[in-house]
């Protein structure tokens, strides 16, 4: 019995190491090959925190791994703002008027993402509104000229892991449909690791002293679309919004 317990303990302890020992195939320039069409199977797009279901918003577990309570460490004022956002979400959610989703929201929308790599860039193309993330891999710094809806992303390789630093974020994007938010002080560090042939482990640490009391971290899996005919189609949100408005005005 005791021996059995030890074996179980060892198995649990070894599991993360086993996951890390996977070595991804390489691109021609020798970096881990993360290319393919990927998508989450979670409800982070509804709410990053634990949430019960309401109409059109399925239930889900928190993807926040730090702090351990799985909640965003808002300042009191920001916590109040999030409640207001939730109440007003039908009108206030920037995605409802088809704005660029921002980082990290674009990564867990219910739309596929195609990753392609060249020596100078990692590109992440979402099917949602043709949104494109361009991660510069040439060692350059964030520009000090402007804020962007999709932020400014510069990356480097840390062994098996793509590390992406994103700054220059406009404050106008949300993190999910529940009104979780940030300010223009948001700084994101993502760590993306291919943990087996068909899975990416995605981790992002969000820091924003104007809104959060401490940095916090989300972690989730992205799954490969293995259908042989998988391809990105398109979701031209603003065009459909206009179509819907025309339909209503008929």
């Amino acid at each position: 019995m005791r021996k059995h317990a030890v074996v179980v303990f060892l198995w649990i302890a070894v599991l993360p190491l086993a996951a890390q020992s996977y070595k991804a195939p390489r691109t021609p320039d020798g970096h881990p090959d993360l290319q393919g069409i990927w998508q989450v199977m979670n409800t982070a797009a509804v709410n990053l925190e634990d949430h019960v279901a309401i109409l059109d918003m399925p239930a889900g577990r928190s993807i926040i791994v730090d702090p351990p309570d799985g909640k965003i460490p808002y300042t009191p004022a920001a916590a109040q703002q999030q409640k207001e956002n939730f109440k007003n979400r039908a009108k206030a959610d920037p995605l409802n008027v088809c704005y660029i989703p921002g980082v990290p929201r674009v990564m867990y929308l219910p739309f596929p993402i195609q990753i392609v790599q060249t020596p100078k860039f990692v590109l992440m193309a979402s099917e949602f509104a043709h949104t494109l993330r361009r991660v510069f891999m040439d060692g350059t710094k964030h520009p000090d000229v402007a804020l962007f809806w999709i932020g400014d992303s510069r990356g480097h390789w840390d062994g098996e892991t793509l590390v992406v630093d994103t700054a220059n974020n406009l404050p106008d994007t949300w993190l999910d449909r529940s009104g979780n938010f940030h300010s223009d002080a948001l700084h994101i560090v993502e760590r993306i690791t291919r943990t087996d042939a068909d899975t990416l482990t995605y981790q992002a640490t969000l820091d924003d002293p104007q809104v959060y009391t401490r940095p916090w971290t989300i972690r989730m899996l992205l799954y490969r679309h293995k259908e042989p005919n998988a391809t990105l189609l398109e979701y031209e949100c603003n065009a459909y919004l206009e179509d819907a408005a025309k339909e209503r005005n008929k």
Partner: protein, 297 residues
């Protein structure tokens, strides 16, 4: 500080949209010579630099494709305003040359009813111009889009990353077939193959909601486009496209133009947030998503 600068960028974006949109009643351009570009570029039209200098021989990507990677500026006369020759100025559209080389008269070979529809769109329904609504451009319009684009060639793909509306066009070169004809897309479905030193892109599945330009030259879902893209040297790419649609044209027609490499090696595309700052539709009626009470005439 950052915020202030961002507002500047947003303003510039909005101004750019207004500038490029065919605003009804806007002052007409005279004589077909556009604005923009460096001094001496007038003869090439708006946004166009002089032809790029000859470059080095074309290199190869790791998987053996002719290497076209980098930032490119399209040179297609004034096709961005109107794809066919347009000797007469219209509101917002100066007289100028298009990019059609066949038929030799430089005009789209419309069937009579289609010609009438294009004329009607230009004269009375210019507020339907798709890019004033921030729709992504179709094919081949995306090839002569203003602001240019970056070409990226990861294994098995050629990607065109356009600054306009922060969008992209991904063309697989792995020999896959077109998707089902039941699926129609703004961008259509493009498949590519290398024919020696020429990238041949076949595009079907367009949704018929895009135009070739700002002048009412519309498309239908029957459009079939074959583009031939040939890098000449490291600074120059030749481009041509044959457009076929038997439902509205009497014959296929061909456009031709050049892409010149952007001289700035440290060039980075900026974010063109179109929907987020769009002021164009303020000029247009509520029925099409604008705020104007009256239909523009």
């Amino acid at each position: 500080m950052k915020k202030t600068l961002n507002l500047m960028v947003a303003t510039v974006t909005a101004a750019a949209l207004i500038m490029f949109a065919p605003i009804p009643g806007a002052s007409q351009q005279k004589g077909g010579k556009g604005k923009g570009g460096p001094p001496g570029a007038e003869q090439y039209g708006p946004y166009y630099a002089a032809p790029a200098k000859p470059g080095e021989p074309v290199g190869r990507t790791p998987d053996g494709q002719p290497d076209m990677q980098g930032f490119w500026t399209p040179r297609f006369n004034q096709a961005i305003f109107e794809v066919q020759d347009h000797p007469t100025a219209q509101p917002g559209i100066g007289a100028g040359k298009g990019a059609i080389v066949d038929p030799p008269d430089g005009r789209i070979p419309y069937r009579p009813e289609a010609a009438a529809k294009a004329k009607e769109l230009l004269a009375k329904q210019i507020y339907l111009e798709p890019e004033a609504h921030c729709y992504v451009s179709g094919v081949p319009h995306a090839a002569y889009q203003q602001f240019g684009y970056q070409i990226v060639q990861p294994a098995g793909y050629v990607l065109f990353l356009t600054e306009y509306a922060h969008t992209y066009r991904a063309i697989p070169t792995d020999g896959r077939p077109h998707i089902s004809p039941n699926v129609k897309l703004f961008r259509g479905d493009s498949v590519g193959k290398w024919d020696g030193g020429t990238l041949v892109i076949d595009t079907t599945n367009q949704n018929g909601k895009t135009w070739f330009d700002m002048a009412g030259n519309f498309t239908t879902q029957a459009i079939h486009v074959v583009e031939r893209i040939t890098p000449v040297d490291t600074n120059n790419i030749n481009y041509e496209a044959v457009v076929d649609d038997a439902t509205i044209y009497t014959q296929p027609w061909k456009i031709s133009g050049q892409l010149g490499r952007h001289p700035d090696q440290n060039m980075e595309l900026m974010e063109f947030a179109c929907v987020e700052g769009n002021q164009d539709l303020v000029h247009y009626t509520e029925g099409v998503g604008g705020k104007a009470k009256e239909k523009p005439r």
